[in-house]
Amino acid sequence: MKHSWTIAAMLPVLFAACATPKGFEQPGFAFGCPIGEAKVSSMDDLVKLKTTMEGKRTTIMATEMRCAKTGDLMKIDANLNNDSSTVKRIAYKFRWIDREGMRAADEETWKPVMLYENSNLVINTVSPSNKAVDFRLVLRSQE
């Protein structure tokens, strides 16, 4: 009897933990990344919010993105996925935004990368200065 009470008491705690995939996230952040007022309830929402394509479009998609603070700088990990059966070449850059929504740094250089067929590649970066509080990942095809 005592045992079942303990289990019953633990269940809601366990469910509550499962219901918050973002963990102990502060308001305005999802998976550690700044989201402002946007509604982000899943990783897909975050990736859509933070990724844009410019120029020649590519089939390479960002599938995961995580951010963390390193001192007063922002560290970003983004997973790019090539689900096709051919090698793909793309270029990417991050665009940095300050507190006022303006460019926090000069335009970055396009960085060319190659993704093997049916593979993932994690790209990472750190914000150029503490003025950069938000970002966009920009992708374009290099083929």
Binding site: T70, G71, L73, A91, K93, A105, D106, E107, E108, T109, W110, K111, P112, T125, V126, P128, S129, N130, Q142
Partner: protein, 195 residues
């Protein structure tokens, strides 16, 4: 007379034909930060990627991150590749990136020292400047860290395929105690095939 006229006509016709064959020159502005793949020698994209990657990495080094605007001097980046690379352009770009980040100050380096001392001498010794406004000698600040590096390459070519691998290594040394405070590398591989 008739022959002379005929020759002149032929010459004019040839000149007109050659002018027609000459390709029209067209100039346009491009993206200075775009991916440049004209040849597989060291290019602008390589320089920019190296500078960005090194500056971002160095900003996270404890010596820079936790220091109170540490003073760094830039030393040589040795070019150990088989091609001519203006390594000063790489260190200049790294320095600009770091300066914009606002975490580091740079002391005058060996390359700029002559100009610095010439200016000090001009202000102090030429007798042209009012004493209160002329900067005093002996007030320069020494660097706490020095930045130096290497760029190496491995080039392989088989028939119509050429592979170039670059490795850029940058180090931050503590001048006082000789300790290596930070070091990082950036690798680039470029392959060119004809046809």
């Amino acid at each position: 007379m008739k022959t002379a006229t005929r020759n002149l006509t032929i010459a004019l016709a040839a000149a007109a034909a050659l002018a027609g064959c000459a390709k029209e020159e067209k100039t346009s502005y491009g993206d200075a930060r775009g991916v440049e793949t004209l040849t597989n020698t060291f290019g602008s994209t390589d320089l920019q990627m190296i500078a960005e990657s090194m500056a971002r990495s160095m900003q996270q080094a404890p010596a820079i991150h936790s220091g109170n605007l540490p003073i760094v001097t830039v030393q040589e980046v040795r070019n150990k590749t088989s091609e001519y690379i203006e390594t000063r352009a790489i260190t200049d770009s790294i320095r600009s990136e770091l300066q914009k980040g606002g975490r580091v100050r740079f002391a005058v380096d060996a390359v700029g020292m002559q100009q610095q001392t010439e200016e000090l001498n001009r202000q102090q010794d030429s007798g042209l400047y009012a004493k209160p406004s002329a900067v005093e000698k002996g007030q320069m600040v020494g660097a706490q860290y020095r930045m130096e590096g290497n760029i190496t390459s491995i080039v392989k070519q088989v028939k119509d395929k050429k592979d170039v691998y670059y490795k850029f290594n940058l180090q931050l040394w503590n001048i006082r105690n000789g300790l290596l405070e930070w070091s990082d590398e950036k690798e680039i591989r470029k392959t060119t095939s004809k046809g």
